[in-house]
């Protein structure tokens, strides 16, 4: 037997990929319907038949919906909710029943007439997406027709290399397939926004649609190649063609792997500004997230985790081991260790005597007072810095004096280690900018440190004089207060002018909308809870920093937090509707 002729068909690739497999023809489920005239006496029976079909269809759809929720996720399963509603729609049922009664028509015919009327409205819609939604109505009508026929809906278990070839796959038919086995889909009808396309993309199944009369030519069992990126389907490919596509498929899967790696670099705004995304970590259980979410190192390691309220301080060697671990997890990009931020709840000694701990002897103040604690921690960090890249950031700096004193102590410890020939690494020293006084003198502080870290949580608390833990004043805790924004703008500018790095590491950086604002204020280095990185990256990758800048400048002109929040909500929704919805923007909080 001579080899079958290789045939190329052009369509529209709607879901990426190359698949080499075998054809499985599937009837689209569209049925031919004939008119029958029924006797007056049989009308009641016809109505009952129709209602039974509706109930059966509803049960089937309920099952499909549940299955789709598992396989496709809730978002895509929602379409079947729409189908369920359509099936139960009073207008549809009333119209069909009225037609049965008035025209003495069989249920199938009544359904087809009513369905066609509805569909004709749809076929005239200019908007492509909405026009294709007519297929939802068609889908429901077809399901009812099958139910009326007493047949079971087509349901197949597919062989492992099945390429579904069909005239048109109705969405529920796609969802009914055993999706674990369908390798690709090729249909005569359909466009980019057809449900077949949407579901195929959601499932990552390559699909070419709009192949016109391909279905007629393909036979179940034929060899077939789907090449979505070339909008092509090849029937009976020659051995040479098959070989070529095997290479292509390999190359594509290689590229897929490098793209997954690329997710690890900085975010890049649409106008090309790169923004580094680092991880804030505290507990060892969070370490895995640093790599998993593609963080560039650790922007903030909250070292006070090492101190437990019961056990008190740990030894220098224990600390050394912990910091070496942190450096290893952070890798090349390094980790920034914040010196013990003590003075709140985690205190090795009793500080109950302090009436107002937030304004008391905490953080760097505690370290400068209890110098042995600070020195021990510095030695541990310096020693661990021989194993990896580590830097130190000083918490709650008020002015250059705090920095100078801490730096002097660090130098003494370096000298001590050198004298004893203990190996250690160089560390840079940064200041947490989280007190308004530090913001106002940021230009001065910038001259004595290697970098800034903006701790927005404390900055909001101290600027607005609002205790974050006090529910009574929660209403006054407004991250988007114009004063806070001015401080961020001011601090970032001071860092830029001094030519030092500035990392924003508060909760603001973890929130996509705020991260975009920070980018607008010129931040190019953010540190956040690792799990937030993908969301923040997605937001930043899809915005233009100049547009963000414009919004920021307008925010700075606002009189109050409420005004900023409203402005951000409106402008973000208008500018980036594909990224932001009311759910990921600051909510309106009209004062009670």
């Amino acid at each position: 037997m001579p080899p079958l002729e290789e045939i190329h068909w052009q369509g529209l690739g709607v879901s990426e990929g190359i698949v080499i497999g075998r054809v499985l023809r599937m009837h689209s489920g569209t049925r031919y319907v004939y008119r029958a005239r029924i006797d007056e006496a049989d009308i009641e029976r016809e109505l009952r038949r129709f209602r039974a079909a509706v109930r059966l269809g509803a049960r089937q759809l309920q099952k499909i919906k549940e299955r789709a929720e598992v396989q496709l996720g809730k978002d895509h399963a929602y379409i079947f909710d729409a189908h369920l509603l359509l099936l139960e729609d009073k207008k549809l049922i009333r119209d069909v029943e009225a037609y049965i009664v008035e025209e003495r028509a069989n249920a199938e015919w009544a359904l087809k007439v009513v369905g066609d009327q509805l569909l004709s409205v749809y076929s005239e819609i200019k908007d492509e997406y909405l026009r294709e939604r007519g297929s939802d109505i068609d889908d429901v009508v077809q399901r009812l027709l099958v139910a009326l026929s007493g047949e079971r809906p087509p349901h197949r278990n597919l062989s492992h290399d099945a390429v579904i070839v069909s005239q048109d796959l109705l969405p529920s038919a796609v969802a009914e397939l055993d999706l674990n086995f369908a390798r690709a889909i090729a249909t005569d009808a359909g466009g980019w926004t057809s449900h077949t396309a949407i579901i195929a993309r959601a499932l990552g199944i390559p699909a070419v649609v709009g192949l016109r009369d391909f279905y007629r030519r393909a036979r179940t069992g034929d060899s077939i190649i789907i090449d979505s990126s070339n909008n092509e389907v090849i029937l009976n490919p020659s051995p040479a063609t098959t070989e070529h596509y095997r290479h292509e498929a390999d190359r594509l899967s290689q590229r897929g792997r490098t793209e997954a790696l690329a997710e690890r670099g900085p975010a890049r705004t649409t106008d090309g500004i790169e923004i580094i995304l680092r991880a804030n970590v505290e507990l060892p259980t969070e370490f895995a997230g640093v790599t998993r979410y593609g963080a560039m190192g650790i922007g903030l390691y909250r070292s006070e985790f090492l101190l437990s309220p019961r056990a008190g301080l740990i030894t220098e060697d224990q600390q050394y081991a912990a910091y070496a671990d942190v450096a290893r997890v952070a890798g090349e990009a390094g980790a920034i260790v914040r010196l013990f931020d003590l003075g709140g709840e985690r205190n090795p000694e009793s500080w109950d005597g302090q009436q107002n701990p937030a304004l008391g002897l905490r953080a760097i103040r505690f370290g400068l007072r209890q110098q042995e604690v600070m020195r021990e921690q510095m030695r541990a960090i310096l020693r661990a810095a021989a194993e990896g890249k580590l830097d130190i950031v000083l918490p709650m700096v008020t002015d250059v004096d705090d920095v100078r004193r801490a730096r002097a102590i660090l130098q003494e410890e370096e000298a001590g280690l050198q004298q004893r020939s203990v190996p250690f690494g160089r560390v840079r020293v940064g200041a947490m900018i989280e007190i308004p006084a530090a913001v106002l003198t940021a230009d001065k502080i910038a001259r004595v440190v290697d970098f800034f870290e903006l701790g927005t949580n404390d900055l909001v608390q101290y600027t607005l004089a609002v205790d974050r833990g006090n529910d009574q004043v929660a209403e006054w805790f407004r991250t988007l207060h114009p004063a806070v924004l001015q401080e961020i703008e001011h601090s970032l500018r001071a860092a830029r002018e001094a030519g030092i790095q500035a990392i924003v590491c508060g909760e603001m950086a973890s929130t996509p909308a705020y991260a975009v604002l920070l980018a607008g204020f010129g931040a190019t280095d953010l540190s956040m809870t690792p799990a937030s990185i993908p969301r923040v990256r997605h937001a930043l990758n899809n915005i233009d920093s100049n547009a963000a800048r414009e919004i920021c400048l307008d925010c700075l002109q606002c009189e109050a937090a409420e005004e900023v929040e409203t402005l951000v909500r409106k402008r973000f929704l208008a500018k980036w509707p594909q990224v932001f919805s009311v759910r990921n923007l600051p909510a309106s909080r009209k004062r009670q």
Binding site: D75, Y78, I79, D81, A82, H83, L85, L86, D89, K90, K91, L92, L118, V121, Y122, I125, K126, D127, Y129, L130, R133, D136, I137, W192, T193, I198, L573, P577, Q578, V579, F580, S581, V582, R583
Partner: protein
């Protein structure tokens, strides 16, 4: 009776899935809820998905929403919220 003008915000218009959400929300209220194209060319019962779909409202379409009943204010607010959020799916199906 309360009346408000609402704009279809979702990129994809008032399609089946969005309509399903609207209808589910509308059916949670006792009031009679209607939507009408501003030019009066079509009107719909917000509690019927077919009826809503027949508005064929693409993105940017302005609709007059009317609510009539003892919970009309709440119903209108709920509908407005849904329209404002683009039916909760502004982020999906972007390509």
């Amino acid at each position: 009776m309360v009346e408000r003008t609402l704009t279809v915000q979702g990129r994809l218009g008032l399609h089946a899935r969005a309509a399903a959400k609207l209808v589910r929300v509308a059916n949670g209220f006792r009031s009679n809820l209607r939507l009408e194209r501003i030019d009066g060319s079509a009107e719909a019962d917000a509690k019927s998905i077919l009826s809503v779909l027949m508005l064929a409202a693409s993105r940017g379409t302005e609709l007059r929403a009317m609510a009539d009943g003892d919970d009309e204010q709440e119903a209108m607010n709920a509908m407005e919220e849904l329209f404002f959020s683009g039916f909760g799916e502004l982020q999906q199906e972007v390509k």
